[in-house]
């Protein structure tokens, strides 16, 4: 892990995420109903996820990267309330996923 110092520069999210410990599992922990995501008008998961793991693909579906998931459930809450309910929320299997050390 490289040192990330608090200077007056904004720090990219990728860099900030690199400070957190993860032990990602092989398989993604969340799934989608792509037909619902395609019709989703807000794609709110893409701005709400604190780790920005959701991206809109060209065909309007959502591409999700599970490495870096902070396991906060924000995506589930926003998708159910302001999205098109296309996300099937899940968490990594036991032992895997985020390992908070200072929180």
């Amino acid at each position: 892990m490289s040192m990330i110092e608090a200077t007056k520069e904004r720090i990219s999210l990728d860099k900030r995420l690199s400070a957190t410990s993860f032990d990602p599992q092989a398989e993604p922990d969340k799934h989608f109903k792509p037909e619902l995501c395609k019709e989703c008008l807000t794609k709110i998961c893409t701005i709400a996820c604190p780790a920005k793991l959701f991206e809109e693909a060209e065909d309007g579906t959502i591409v999700y990267t599970h490495e870096g998931c902070l396991e906060c459930r924000t995506c589930d809450y926003v998708c159910q309330n302001f999205g098109n309910k296309g996300l099937i929320f899940g968490l990594p299997a036991g032992n895997f996923g985020v390992k908070y050390r200072f929180s």
Partner: protein, 429 residues
């Protein structure tokens, strides 16, 4: 499928699960705690502040003095912020240092590990890295857990799974909380030397400060920001309600950088090293469910919704520990009476309703409603900073008394309304 039976299974090795395990194991009950994280605390994100009164209640023999407590909080700062300004009220009191301190900051990865180790010392088995898929229900009664196809049975299950509450929802103890009732906190943890933290917050060794901020970067939206001092790290972040997210107008992850780079905040963390970036959602409506127990199962801590948010006082860990203790006492009593039939678990409700949890809930039940007032998040912080600026600034063009400054910012009616609303706030939080 292997099946074995113990006295009690506890889902989650957080503060409520580990306290329940400690109490039960001390009475020689066979207890297994299953924790999905690689170690207790691995999945926990918290302010994190613990109110000291609870420690001697759980550890009357003084074992709590070995607990990894970060700093004794002697300084509380309430800060109204705007993009360029900040108006702070600082409170210090020496009495906050009297043992046990009014409150301590804790790092959950350390504190939860310690608490789980106490449960282990008392004889409980803590199994980390085990994710529970569902509760096992037979004839309408919870009889155990299913973890990856492996069934384990017990006379009673304590559901101490925390704020995510997935099992509680799956089994109908609560519904998914409404977006107005859930807050998301995003946090950065910065490592700094102990001496630098002492200097920057003007505190003695072992003492610390907690900053509560309103107005920026959550301008106009329900939410706020916080900064907690640990022994040699600073934990800072932003909080938004889920229903505010569509209105932020930028990515959630950017707001915390706006906060860190605010000219009033930046010098506090300057030169620190980032050691963690974290996020968590917490349902804030106290008692998400009135069903915090069922046949064979008791819900504790955040899983049951035991959390008070009074704006500047957020209490969750103490309520979690207390509810863990009450759940353990319920099971011990039922076991002694040899009365584990499905209906008898209502004893837990009695115990909760006779406890500090319920007494305080009755006092604070309007706070949540009051904290929905959007004025708290924009109008008041703006007003506080504008008024303070008028009072402290002199540029040679105007002179005015404090009264004149107030009257220039506020009509008589507005002043009256502000007073009335302030009174409402004082009565509810």
């Amino acid at each position: 499928m292997a099946s074995e039976k113990v006295d009690v299974i506890i889902v989650g090795a957080g503060p409520s699960g580990s306290v329940a395990a400690w109490e039960l194991a001390k009475k020689d009950l066979q207890v297994i705690v299953v924790e999905r994280g690689a170690y207790p605390g691995a999945k926990n994100v918290s302010g994190a502040r613990l109110y000291g009164y609870i420690l001697p209640m759980i550890f009357p023999d003084g074992e709590w003095k070995e607990a990894p407590l970060e700093r004794c909080i002697t300084k509380e700062k309430v800060i109204f912020m705007t993009e360029k300004g900040a108006m702070a009220i600082e409170f210090y009191h020496k009495d906050f240092k009297k043992e046990p301190c009014n409150s301590y900051t804790v790092i959950r990865a350390k504190f939860d590990k310690w608490l789980a180790s106490k449960a282990e010392e008392a004889g409980a088995l803590v199994a980390s890295g085990v994710n529970v898929d569902e509760l096992v229900i037979r004839d309408g009664r919870v009889v155990g857990i299913n973890a990856g196809g492996e069934i384990m049975e017990a006379d009673a299950v304590i559901l101490a799974e925390g704020a995510l509450g997935l099992l509680a929802e799956k089994h109908g103890f609560r519904e998914m909380p409404k977006p107005s009732e859930v807050a998301v906190g995003v946090k950065e943890v910065w490592s700094l030397s102990k001496d630098k933290i002492n200097d920057r917050f003007n505190v003695e060794d072992g003492e610390g400060a907690v900053l509560h901020l309103a107005g920026f970067p959550s301008k106009g939206l329900r939410g706020g920001a916080f900064l907690y001092t640990m022994e040699s790290v600073i934990s800072m972040g932003v909080i938004f309600h889920i229903d505010s997210i569509p209105e932020i107008g930028k990515e959630l992850n950017e707001t915390i950088e706006d906060f860190r780079l605010h000219p009033y905040i930046f010098p506090l963390v300057e030169g620190g090293q980032l050691v963690e970036y974290a996020a968590k959602t917490v349902p804030e409506a106290f008692l998400l469910t009135d069903k915090f127990y069922g046949p064979g199962v008791l819900l504790t801590g955040d899983a049951a919704g035991f959390l008070f948010n009074l704006g500047f006082t957020v209490r969750g860990i103490d309520l979690a520990m207390l509810s863990g203790k009450l759940a353990a006492e319920t099971i011990i009593e039922l076991k002694n009476r040899n009365s584990l039939e499905p209906g008898s678990f209502a004893l837990y409700e009695q115990k909760v309703k006779n406890s500090i949890i319920w007494r305080d809930y009755k006092v604070f039940k309007n706070a949540h409603k009051y904290l929905r007032d959007p004025k708290i998040y924009s109008e008041y912080p703006d007003l506080a900073v504008r008024l303070a600026k008028r009072i402290f600034e002199y540029d040679g063009t105007r002179a005015e008394t404090i009264y004149q400054a107030i009257r220039r910012e506020l009509s008589f009616i507005k002043l009256l309304k502000l007073g009335l609303n302030g009174l409402k706030g004082v009565k509810s939080i």
